[in-house]
């Protein structure tokens, strides 16, 4: 019988190694698997490469992971920590490496990793500093940049509802990068707010089919922090 639920965050994170590349869903304070990130912190993991749209917010979750200097490199489109200058401080001190990627290219590179596409051309960043050193090609009169798939060893996903097969649905803007990252890691770990019985989620509405999911932990944490 397939049952991807595990009993604790620690169990969900079992086997992740120092130096791992971790895809972290979320956009701003919404849809980020904070409890799983806190679990990474408790495990003492270090030398991580984190792929995420932002660098976190306040002093929690991803922001804290960075502030504790557990992250060697961040690959993201908007490396700011809302409500904190700690990313800038680390960056200026040369204590974190930054690979800045346009948001759409970031999404597409992760999607490519999930879809078995090792590289693709895109118009984004052509003719800009972010394309320096990259292969370009003119196709039908327009210049495109070659971008590579971006795989994770691990993906940390936040879902609204999950069943024991790992089928997932998300909530509103909490969807964001989560379903894309779920497809692109060797080990996809989900924290879910709610648990559904198998067959309870309408098969027409499942956003992430369970094939992409390895482990699920039930973390009914409630709403994201409101930041005004």
């Amino acid at each position: 019988m397939i049952d991807k639920f595990v009993n604790s965050v620690a169990e969900a994170l079992e086997g992740i190694k120092d130096g791992a590349t971790i895809l972290v869903g979320g956009f701003g304070a919404v849809g980020q698997a904070n409890q799983l990130i806190d679990g990474l912190i408790e495990l003492g993991l270090r030398d991580l490469t984190v792929v995420a749209n932002n660098a976190g917010y306040r002093q929690i979750g991803l922001a804290r992971l960075l502030q504790l200097r557990r992250v060697r490199k961040i690959i993201c489109s908007f490396p700011r920590i809302a409500g904190s200058t700690s990313f800038e401080d680390l960056y200026r001190a040369g204590e974190i490496e930054l690979e800045l990627v346009p948001q759409g290219t970031l999404a597409e590179r992760i999607r490519a990793a999930g879809a078995g596409v090792p590289a693709f051309f895109t118009a984004t960043a052509a003719g800009t500093d972010l394309a320096l050193g990259k292969e370009t090609r003119e196709i039908d009169g327009r210049t495109y940049v070659l971008e590579n798939a971006l795989h994770g060893d691990v993906a940390l996903v936040e879902a609204w509802r999950a069943d024991r097969w790992g089928n997932l649905v998300y909530r509103e803007a909490g969807r964001n990068f989560n379903p894309v990252m779920a497809t692109a890691a060797a080990l996809t770990i989900v924290q879910t707010q709610h648990v559904a019985k198998l067959g309870e989620i309408d098969p027409e509405t499942i956003v992430t089919p369970g094939i992409f999911v390895n482990r699920v932990v039930h973390v009914p944490y409630g709403d994201p922090l409101i930041m005004l």
Binding site: F27, G28, A29, V30, G31, N53, S77, F78, P79, R80, A82, F87, E88, Y91, R92, L98, L100, V101, P102, Q103, G104, T105, A107, E108, I110, R111, T122, A123, T124, A125, A126, G127, T128, D129, L130, Y170, R171, E172, A173, G174, R175, N176, F177, N178, P179, V180, V207, D223, P224, L225, I226, M227, L228
Partner: protein, 222 residues
């Protein structure tokens, strides 16, 4: 260069005035992405009777107005991380699908702010390349190359009085030759092959005065 606000004959548009001016030009039925800042205000000024669908990079089509503070839905933010609402007919989707809309040329329009726009349509709006500062790009480069039309809305000059319309961008480019139209606090200008064609100016401003405040080649509307 002269300062914008030292004149009696004309008044530059303020943020709301600019947003309202842009909104006038958005036809019924367009799909539009609005950047952070003044562009975001455009949504509040769409003339009545027009149905315009607003897109947000983080997977939302059909953004509605911001909620009252006591009615905030903590799950519903726009790309600027402001709390928003969803209108009937709106939908949610993931980031790759969201950027399919952007990069696949499905948006009728994107409105962005800018540091500089060059007369060949080059846009610089993502970084001033301050040494030591961490750069951030977000979705700007995707929007600049992806939308069917890119309009820029910005002050005509910097606070120091420097023209933001330029012959060649000094700041790092967001994308080359992508801007179609610029709405500044003084004028509306189309990017054409020879430079900027002036489509409109604030009342009382002359073409010559506009040119004198602009470090780029302007052409009057034929």
């Amino acid at each position: 260069m002269k300062s914008e606000n030292k004149t009696s004959a004309w008044t530059p548009l303020d943020r709301v005035g600019l947003a309202r001016r842009v909104a006038q030009d958005i036809p019924d039925g367009w799909y539009v992405n609005l950047g952070i800042g003044v562009p975001t205000l455009v949504a509040n000024h769409v003339p009545e009777g027009r149905e315009v669908v607003f897109h947000s990079e983080n997977g939302i089509l059909g953004l509605g107005p911001g909620p009252e503070t006591d009615k905030i839905n903590p799950w519903l933010v726009n790309a600027g991380k402001q709390y928003v609402t969803l209108v009937p007919g709106g939908s949610y989707f993931h980031h790759a699908d969201s950027f399919t809309m952007i990069r696949g040329r499905h948006l009728d329009l994107c409105v962005l702010g800018a540091f500089e726009v060059a007369q060949n349509g080059d846009l610089a709006n993502w970084t001033t390349a301050t040494p030591g500062a961490a750069p951030a790009v977000g979705g700007a480069m995707d929007l600049a190359v992806g939308a069917k039309r890119l309009w820029v809305v910005m002050d005509h000059s910097t606070k120091e009085g420097k023209s933001k319309l330029v012959r060649k961008c000094g700041y790092p480019l967001t994308a080359p030759a992508c801007v179609k139209r610029v709405y500044t606090s003084l004028a509306v200008l189309d990017v054409v092959s020879e430079g900027f064609r002036v489509v409109g100016m604030v009342p009382g401003l002359s073409f010559e005065e506009l040119q004198s405040r602009t470090d780029a080649d302007l052409f009057p509307l034929a």
